[in-house]
Amino acid sequence: MTQPKVDACTREAVDWLLRLEAAGEDRDLRQAFDAWLHASPEHAAAWQRVGNLLQQPIAALHRVEAHSPGQLRAASHALMTPDTVSRRKVLRGGLALVLFGVSGAALLDRAQPLNGLWADRRTATGERSTFTLADGSRLSLNARSSVDIQFTEQRRVVHLREGQVFVDVAADARRPFVISTAQGEVQALGTQFMVSQEAAGSLTSVQLHSVKVTTQGGHQRRVEAGQAAWFSEEWVRPVPLSAAGRVDWRDGRVDIRDEPLGSLIDALRPYRRGVLRISPQAAALRVYGVYPLDDAEQTLQSLAQTFPLRIRRYGPWLTLIDVQ
């Protein structure tokens, strides 16, 4: 046991951190904490020690994640698996399964288009599209999105390859309506919902009635109207509805309510060519408001006027956003 090596102040600081994180907004607790923090310089030093723990490597991983999504998941996956021989076996087994899943789907893709049931739809950068499917369902694609549509006697399936899709489903009791992603399927139990395919997994949010998520690994969960959930092959995780889950993009805007600037920038990405990089400090700024998507440059300009941001452009292909 290494724990006795840590002094009493540092232990108290850890307790405070955990309590504050668990409590959310709690003014009494906050006041009690402030009193503790200012009671002695040793408390402040201990608090700093706890706050600084691993801060550097974690910030480095977040930085890499910001411009090369998926890194954080890969890193945390590597760190989480305990260092034993069996880890390698488990990992290999898992990989083989996933790879098989991917290539299986890819084979299916090539086999099917010829029979005419498939119809690819895609949108370019900055472009949105809404169209009606054969069954009367209405499908909206956000910018930089693509779907394949496959309707059979048994099922109506829309494969989301990339980007975001919103659907208003026409009722058909005999044929379930499903949107599938690389991680699993979202089945309509009602009418309106959104699915987003991201590098790190899939996100769904429900505007009306509910949906059932089934992951590749067989995990299931119902998501109700006004709710959102992330899912991977192996889990479904309910999350608060945020800008990423709202569907205001259909009207060409993003509605952001006290959320990190990083989320707003993420919403703008499919509307701009070139790489948009944002520093972790800038990404953490809280933003509130409705911003237009169609003129992403203008939105960036107005952000720079409202927030202490520095926006540097290196030609049309690279834009860096940082705090001043």
Partner: protein, 170 residues
């Protein structure tokens, strides 16, 4: 073998007499001449740093003990990196990181792993989900199907472990 007591001369003698043998020994473990040469060098540097060098009774037993420790952390780093690269392989190619990113990630992984070393799997996992992925305690409890009290206890344990380790390394 030299009988001098001058540390420099002792090290020189130790090196002359044993570095080929050590490199061959490491090569047998690593099957890679560059890695074997690197670790041979590291071993002698460690020996130089470690102590007031005195005449060694069993220089090769001593060297291989030091080398074994280096070998262990070398494998650990390799496994960590491989595990990370394996996870990355699942991402679409357009997300493949640059060399610069890889170097950053590798360094970050090693420093986190060093502090977490010795913690049980669940404690590690809970700490990573909380600190790296930013999940709340209730979400972690739900995802891992454990009680909130367990999450809190494990987080505390991980924090104290890492703080103790980082104090030791500093």
């Amino acid at each position: 073998m030299s009988t001098s007591t001058d540390p420099k001369a002792l090290l020189a003698a130790l090196y002359d007499d044993n570095h080929r043998w050590l490199r061959a020994w490491l090569y047998r473990q690593l099957k890679c001449p560059q890695d074997a040469a690197d670790l041979t060098q590291d071993t002698f540097i460690r020996v130089l740093d470690a102590r007031q060098l005195t005449q060694l009774e069993e220089p090769r037993a001593f060297l291989s003990t030091v080398a074994r420790r280096l070998l262990f952390s070398f494998w650990r780093r390799k496994r960590l990196e491989q595990s990370y690269l394996d996870s990355l392989a699942l991402l679409p190619e357009c997300y493949s990181p640059s060399e610069e990113d890889l170097a950053l990630v590798r360094e970050a992984l090693e420093s986190i792993d060093r502090l977490l070393n010795g913690l049980p799997a669940r404690v590690r996992q809970i700490f990573i989900l909380s600190r790296l992925e930013g999940l709340t305690q209730p979400l972690i409890a739900q995802q891992l199907n454990v009680s909130l009290a367990t999450v809190e206890r494990d987080l505390r344990r991980a924090f104290l472990h890492c703080l103790a380790e980082s104090a030791e390394l500093a």
